[in-house]
Symmetry: C2
Subunit: 322 residues, 2 copies
């Protein structure tokens, strides 16, 4: 059926072990023999059988990437970068989607566990305890979740949230709301903490909310009645949904209420009013996570975020410029 190492051996007049070595340990085979073997392999269009290889070596050269929701625009750039990084080192990437469901998340980890060398787990919804337990079965890198002892890549959302708050303060806002993310989200917790600790601001927290446009729309009435002039939303999708919902209620953004998002996703970038948002280094995170996994290094990496000021924020109504 398929061309195997044996065919190549026969065609080049050497033993299979020599063929194997020309691929996996070239320095152990004579240069002349090597070229002969490579020529035969080329001519027969030989491609090593990865299943056989991993059966023997115990390594698969595969990586699993699990995200909460593939359709959330935050993830595709991360996936793209992760895939590119994996491919650079001859790894292949399984991708899966939990639908924000912790149970499905665990199932996916277990389903992947025997078939990958490691898993990149993005924005997990499982508890720390559950993750620690799983980490005994398969090695992984956590993105946007910090657990002592596990390899993590997190984005400094707290600092981003602070910058967002300072931006609102500098515009003259005094009472703002946080439209929080889903329960189980580490970033949402970090943002919440940072927001509540901002001096000079009255803050009210609304949530947890679904991290989608719908979540934002649903939060709009509460924002309209909360007596706030500024809002920090869990992500761009929520921010956009919120703007949408506020518009229906006759509340103008940024005229009546300023809105800041999180992620700097393509969807937010192309929205009107152009969204003021906290940029997240998603591509860097994806790349770093798989690099860490492949080098099987344990590390706790923090990536910087930064505020991008665009058009969805303005001074509160009736505010005199300083």
């Amino acid at each position: 059926m398929s061309v195997t190492i044996r065919d190549v051996a026969q065609a080049s007049g050497v033993h299979v072990s020599t063929v194997s070595r020309t691929f996996s340990a070239p320095h152990l085979v004579n240069a002349e023999t090597r070229t002969r073997v490579l020529a035969a392999a080329e001519q027969l269009d030989y491609r090593p059988n990865r299943a056989a290889r991993s059966l023997k070596t115990g390594r698969t050269n595969n990586i699993g990437l699990i995200v909460a929701d593939l359709a959330n625009p935050f993830f595709p750039p991360l996936i793209k970068a992760a895939q590119a990084a994996a491919r650079r080192q001859d790894y292949h990437l399984f991708v899966a989607d939990t639908g924000e469901d912790p149970v499905e998340e665990e199932n996916l980890v277990l389903a992947f566990s025997k078939q990958v060398d490691g898993i990149v787990l993005c924005s997990p919804r499982l508890s720390n305890k559950a993750l620690e337990k799983l980490s005994e079965q398969v090695s992984f890198v956590l993105v946007n979740r910090r657990i002592r002892g596990l390899t993590t890549v997190v984005m400094d959302v707290a600092n981003g949230a602070r910058a967002a708050m300072e931006h609102l303060v500098s515009l003259g806002h005094r009472r703002v709301a946080l439209v929080a993310g889903p329960a189980g989200s580490w970033t949402s917790g970090e943002i919440r903490k940072a927001v509540s600790e901002t001096p000079g601001l009255d803050t009210v927290v609304i949530g947890p909310n679904s991290p989608t446009e719908e979540g934002g729309i649903a939060a709009a009435p509460m924002i309209a009645e909360a007596g706030v002039t500024g809002v920090l939303a869990y992500n761009d999708l929520v921010a956009i949904g919120l703007i949408e919902g506020l518009e229906v209620l006759g509340v103008d953004v940024p005229g009546d209420v300023s809105v800041i998002g999180f992620d700097d996703s393509i969807t937010g970038r192309l929205h009107r009013p152009k969204l003021t948002t906290v940029a997240m280094p998603a591509s860097d995170a994806g790349r770093m996570a798989v690099d860490l996994l492949i080098q099987s290094m344990s590390a706790a990496t923090v990536l910087e975020t930064h505020l991008v000021v665009r058009e969805s924020t303005a001074p509160p109504k009736g505010h005199r410029a300083a």
Copy 2:
């Protein structure tokens, strides 16, 4: 190290072959034995080694999914649906991204070929001839490319384009432009054909263009000078970029020029002005493609598209309503 079929056999007092059969051919083993084996497997937390299995059976239970650009909002819903469909049948999904590069596309197909049971190739940029040749090495399903003899799932973009054109005609437009997609795109060709055949319309084609926001921005000056009052763009991203670019040039959408996109992506859906666009059944396509692959059926499936009229289209300036 890891718990194997042998451990389970020992623990439940049967031969390994019986354990194997309780998993892959349960009807061949006595109900009582089966429960005993399953209990032992459960207790030992046994998980079959897929590498060993595929080495023996020649099947991997993996599927590859290749798209032009993961960051293009058209693809994530398709990927999400494909992954869900695969998972339902205990398949896992490799995902990769060609960066719109035909050479990389071919490399990816070859890299996947020995490690998957089939490949879903979305919006390929390779030539028909190259694809036919590759199809001898590995079975695949083509999405949005039609080749006789190969299994395909295409969306009826021609009909969508016609609907878009008719919409423009009915609004009173007489001269419109098509901002085409990249070279090698089958959908772009189909759209072009449909547009050029629309009666009662002068049409001008601009392109090929990059299927991104930048592509749209770059096309804006040409549109501004083309003397057209309506535009059909290759996709939502191009449409949005175009609107952006036209705005800079002082051309209002839809006041001066009406713009229609393609895809009905989330990014387009949330854009302002709300984008009139041709909705593409991307999720259906993703699901169908992997189902066809797993059933290894050959078929040529056509999925319907439909026009979604929103706010980026209007009668041309100075046009009297009928």
